[in-house]
C-alpha cells in the first residue's frame, strides 16, 4: 500500500472529525446546568474510549507476540501504545479544563483521575522501554509483558467511579442519563474518534515497518568466509 492511501485515510478521518464537531457545536443542546463547557464531554469521553481500544490492541498484540513469536503483532502493539498515550493525554487535559470551572480545581486525587494518570504513566513507560532498550526479541518480550499487565489498569479506570466514591461523575451513557440529542452527538463523536485512532495506528504501523526495513538495509552485510572448493 503506498503512502497516498494513508493520506486519503487521514483526510477521511479529518472530514469525519469535522462532522463530529458540527454535531458537538451545532446539533447538541447546551447543558442547562453547566452551560457550554459541558461540550467538552463529547471528545473527552470519546478520547478515553479510543485510548481503551488502543490499549486493548497492545494487549492483543503482546499476547500474540508471546504466543506465536509474531513480529507483526509486536509492531502493532508498539503502534497502538503510542496512539493510546496520545489519546490519554487528550483525555486528561480536556478533563482538567472541564474540572476547573465545575469543581473549582484542575486536579483532584480521586480514583478516576489517579488511575487514568497511572494508565498514562504505564504506557509512557512501555514506550520508553521500547525506545531505550536494545531492539530485539528481549525488548519485545519485556514490552509485551508490560503491555499485558498494564491493561489491568483499564478496567480499574473504567469501574473506579462505581467501586469508589469519586468527585468524577459516574457513567452517564450506559445509565440512560443523556437526552437523545446529546446521546446522538456523543455516539457520532465516538465513532469518528475511533476511526481516527484506527487510521493513526495504521500509519504508525507503516512507519514502524519502513523504519525496520531501512535499518536492515543500513546494516553491513555479514562477512562470509569463502568456501573451499574441492576441500580435503
Amino acid at each position: 500500500m503506498n503512502s497516498s492511501r494513508y493520506e486519503l485515510g487521514a483526510l477521511a478521518a479529518v472530514g469525519l472529525m469535522l462532522v463530529a464537531a458540527a454535531f458537538i457545536f451545532l446539533f447538541a443542546p447546551t447543558d442547562a446546568l453547566q452551560g457550554p463547557v459541558q461540550r467538552i464531554f463529547y471528545l473527552h469521553v470519546s478520547s478515553a474510549i479510543a485510548a481503551y481500544g488502543c490499549f486493548a490492541v497492545v494487549l492483543l498484540g503482546g499476547v500474540v507476540y508471546l504466543w506465536k513469536d509474531n513480529l507483526a503483532a509486536d509492531r502493532l502493539a508498539r503502534s497502538a501504545a503510542l496512539v493510546g498515550v496520545v489519546f490519554t493525554t487528550v483525555t486528561l487535559v480536556m478533563g482538567m479544563l472541564w474540572a476547573k470551572p465545575i469543581w473549582g480545581t484542575f486536579w483532584t486525587w480521586d480514583a478516576r483521575l489517579t488511575s487514568t494518570l497511572v494508565l498514562w504513566i504505564i504506557y509512557a513507560g512501555y514506550l520508553m522501554v521500547r525506545r531505550l532498550a536494545e531492539p530485539g526479541r528481549q525488548a519485545a518480550r519485556f514490552a509485551a509483558v508490560v503491555g499485558i499487565f498494564g491493561f489491568i489498569d483499564v478496567p480499574v479506570v473504567h469501574f473506579s467511579v462505581t467501586w469508589w466514591r469519586t468527585q468524577h461523575p459516574g457513567p452517564v451513557v450506559i445509565n440512560d442519563a443523556l437526552p437523545a440529542q446529546m446521546l446522538i452527538a456523543f455516539l457520532i463523536t465516538m465513532a469518528c474518534t475511533l476511526f481516527l485512532a484506527a487510521v493513526m495506528i495504521a500509519i504508525r504501523y507503516r512507519i514502524e515497518l519502513l523504519t525496520e526495513q531501512a535499518a536492515e538495509r543500513a546494516m553491513p552485510a555479514p562477512i562470509v568466509a569463502p568456501t573451499e572448493v574441492g576441500g580435503a
Binding site: 503512502s3 494513508y6 471528545l43 480536556m94 479544563l97 493513526m200 512507519i207 526495513q213 531501512a214
Partner: protein, 33 residues
C-alpha cells in the same frame, strides 16, 4: 467559555499535530525507500 475553547484547541493541536507529523514521517520514509 474560555475553558471550552482551550480544551478543543489543545485537542486539535495534539491530535492534528500528531497526524500531520506521522504523515510527514511516512512520506519521508516512503521517499527514501
Amino acid at each position: 467559555m474560555v475553558y471550552l475553547v482551550t480544551a478543543y484547541a489543545f485537542a486539535i493541536a495534539v491530535l492534528g499535530g500528531y497526524l500531520v507529523w506521522s504523515l510527514l514521517r511516512l512520506r519521508e520514509l516512503t521517499r527514501k525507500r
